[in-house]
């Protein structure tokens, strides 16, 4: 689960990670009130969406007067912001964060993320803040300082020294401030079961202080149960409504732009099924993993969600039952044909646990739209044909 910048900064503040002062606004009027409350004569109006690249997309603007704060806020709230991380459809901006202007002397990068190979969190820092950090990592990997922290010992002084010397920071006062910053950020990461934290840029001010000018945080979904405060920060409007509806039924759904709806058990087989459809000249309309607890109700729901997509010309149900029982899937298919108008051919391949009973159930129901398949290749070939209108 991801959160907005303003929410990440609320968490930072709780841990003493320094950030500029700011207040969230839902309307241009609120933006104006917030700017007055913050005081000063320069403000930043920042679109709050779950994606990077907001500045380049025109979602972050500097205001030099209170009038300008209100004007910019009214421009940004309601705009559809397209960045390299939103996809071409962009994201609707519903909130802006009004932040006091900062005196930027240097821009750094600081992040904490799991290093899968080392199996521990890694702190990454760079002097090339404000830039596209992936490009920095690719072109000049030596400019990214990586320090792994073993959770068994936690953040120690030497980790901090690796960071500051790596970044070429020589002023002892600044060294101390940055080490303190990094150590607190590591604590934010560990305490909250974060998946990643990224601050780009982390700025050094004219007076030698370090501030998180940006803040992105993602969390381990498996650990949200023990963080109700973070779960409460979930912004449902940032999530795809179909994907969300699916997840309420234990289904994992991602819509794609092809013609063959897929319903499969297990993420690996689901991707393998899409790959096979593609290999045989068809195009998958979605990824749908029915999960390990699939029953008649969830299968019916799956059909409903798949059929909402007007591009779907055929559905391929590919189940290899381990924990999932094929007879339950078969009953789900029957129930679905009662509940929703299944107007496209449904190719069904059922193998594994209780497959024989399942095939019997479908045969006895004798529904004309249902085409049985003997294995993955047969099913994919039949689905591709059906989508093309061939028999």
């Amino acid at each position: 689960m991801n959160i907005h910048e303003y929410q990440a900064k609320q968490i930072f503040a709780k841990y003493g990670v320094p950030t500029p002062r700011g207040i969230i606004a839902n309307t241009p009027e609120e933006a104006l009130i917030n700017a007055k409350e913050l005081g000063g004569n320069i403000w930043v109006v920042k679109a709050q969406i779950h994606a990077g690249g907001r500045g380049l997309g025109g979602g972050v603007k500097l205001a030099r007067s209170l009038d300008e704060v209100k004007t910019l806020a009214s421009e940004i709230i309601g705009m559809t912001l397209v960045t390299h991380q939103t996809g071409p459809e962009g994201k609707l901006v519903q909130k802006v964060y009004i932040e006091e202007g900062a005196d930027i002397k240097d821009e750094l990068y600081l992040g904490v993320v799991l290093d899968r190979a080392k199996e521990m969190p890694i702190i990454m820092a760079s002097t090339e803040g404000g830039m596209e950090i992936e490009k920095v990592a690719h072109d000049t990997p030596e400019k990214i300082i990586k320090v792994a922290v073993d959770p068994a010992i936690g953040f120690q002084g030497f980790h901090g020294r690796e960071l500051v010397f790596g970044l070429g920071i020589t002023n002892p006062d600044e060294q101390k401030k940055l080490i303190n910053f990094a150590s607190k950020l590591y604590k934010v990461y560990m305490d909250n079961d974060a998946e990643m934290i990224e601050i780009n840029p982390l700025i050094k001010t004219g007076s030698g202080d370090f501030l998180a000018l940006d803040g992105k945080m993602g969390f381990d979904d498996s650990a949200l149960g023990r963080h109700p405060d973070i779960e409460a920060m979930r912004d449902l409007s940032e999530e795809d409504p179909d994907e969300r509806e699916a997840s309420q039924y234990g289904l994992s759904y991602v819509s794609l732009d092809g013609e063959i709806g897929c319903m499969v058990n297990g993420a690996g087989l689901a991707m393998g099924t899409m790959d096979t459809i593609n290999y045989m000249g068809g195009t998958p309309a979605n990824f749908l993993d029915v999960g390990g607890k699939a029953n008649a109700e969830t299968v019916a729901k799956g059909f409903e969600i798949i059929l909402k997509n007007p591009n779907v010309k055929a559905i391929f149900v590919n189940i290899f039952g381990g924990i999932v029982r094929c007879d339950r899937i078969a009953n789900g298919i029957l129930e679905a044909t009662n509940l929703v108008d299944v107007h496209v051919p449904v190719i069904v391949r059922l193998d594994g646990t209780n497959a024989t009973e399942a095939i019997e159930i479908l045969r006895n129901a004798n529904i004309p739209n249902i085409i049985p398949a003997i294995d993955l290749a047969d099913g994919a070939a039949k689905a591709v044909k059906a989508a093309k209108g061939e028999k």
């Binding site: 993320v113 899968r116 521990m120 890694i122 990592a137 990224e198 690996g268 593609n278 290999y279």
Partner: protein, 290 residues
């Protein structure tokens, strides 16, 4: 021969009396797995499925001499359960539970490694030595005994792969579902040399997925150390690039973890790479007839 487990392996079940633990322990017993007892705190001294229940893994190991534990405890208790198994001297923990917090697994894996305990999973179907010992949730009947070793991140692709190998007239020595979580126990790199050393295994099927770089590491390892034929499939060639917030993940691994990248690396290592899981069986047949 086989790898890691066989008909003599003594197994306990952590989370024995729960719904999942009970159902799958029964299935494993029916398959012939030598389950010798289980652990559920506060149920020590009782009997379940005709087997003794213990309060702690330590008690269970002392009384039964078990060397392997199959773990079904709820996600929030997985880390604790793995560490308890390691502390009690278990040699291999097979963690089936899905949804264990990553932070817990980091701690548990580090501790298991320190104690010399191997781990499989979490969030995996388990391990099966065909017709001898099933420790996990896979449908046992599709694994006919034979000479093909199988390693897969995905549960259902393990079944698909095994099914195809068997349909072509071959069989499975041992199949291991390693799981696809960010922190997992044994991976390709640790399992490949076990299959290489196993005289019963003649060829290896390796099934991977997009994300991470375990398959890239495996490719390098195969190139340098594996002489037996390897057939690989990487799921997710058509998966869309996920919308994501930060860049940090990609920078750490230094690669995007795409299917194309992994397939290329494996091909370069001399592996037969198939583009659809429907081709796995045929590819194994061809690899063995060379």
């Amino acid at each position: 021969m086989s790898i890691l487990v066989n008909k003599d392996t003594k197994v306990i079940v952590q989370g024995f009396t729960g719904k999942e633990g009970t159902f799958h322990a029964e299935q494993c017993l029916a398959y012939g797995t030598k389950i010798v007892g289980g652990v559920t705190p506060n149920k020590g001294g009782q009997e379940h499925l005709g087997l003794p229940v213990f309060n702690t893994v330590n008690d269970a190991v002392k009384s039964t001499g078990a060397t392997v534990s199959m773990i079904f405890v709820p996600p929030a208790f997985v880390g604790d359960a793995v560490m308890e198994a390691a502390e009690a001297g278990i040699e291999l923990a097979v963690v089936i539970t899905e949804g264990a917090p990553v932070r817990d697994m980091q701690m548990a894996k580090a501790y298991a490694t320190k104690k010399g305990m191997k781990t499989i999973g979490p969030n995996c179907p388990g391990i099966i030595t065909a017709e001898e010992c099933k420790i996990g949730i896979m449908p046992g009947n599709i694994f006919k005994k034979g000479n093909i070793g199988l390693i897969s991140k995905s549960g259902t692709l393990t079944y698909e792969g095994a099914n195809q190998v068997c349909k072509e007239g071959f069989g499975i020595s041992t199949a291991v579902g390693i799981g696809g979580d960010p922190i997992i126990g044994l991976s390709y790199k640790q399992l490949l040399p076990m299959f290489e050393a196993d005289p019963e295994t003649k060829a290896i099927v390796m099934i991977g997925e997009i994300g991470g770089d375990l398959e890239i590491q495996a490719a390098q390892f195969i190139k340098e150390n594996i002489t037996k034929p390897v057939v690989a499939f990487i799921a997710g060639q058509t998966a869309p690039k996920g919308k994501r917030m930060g860049h940090a993940g990609a920078i750490v691994s230094g690669s995007a973890g795409t299917a194309a990248e992994k397939m290329e690396a494996l091909k370069a290592a001399g592996v037969t790479v198939v583009v659809s899981p429907a081709e796995i069986g045929k590819a194994v047949k061809e690899a063995l007839s060379k």
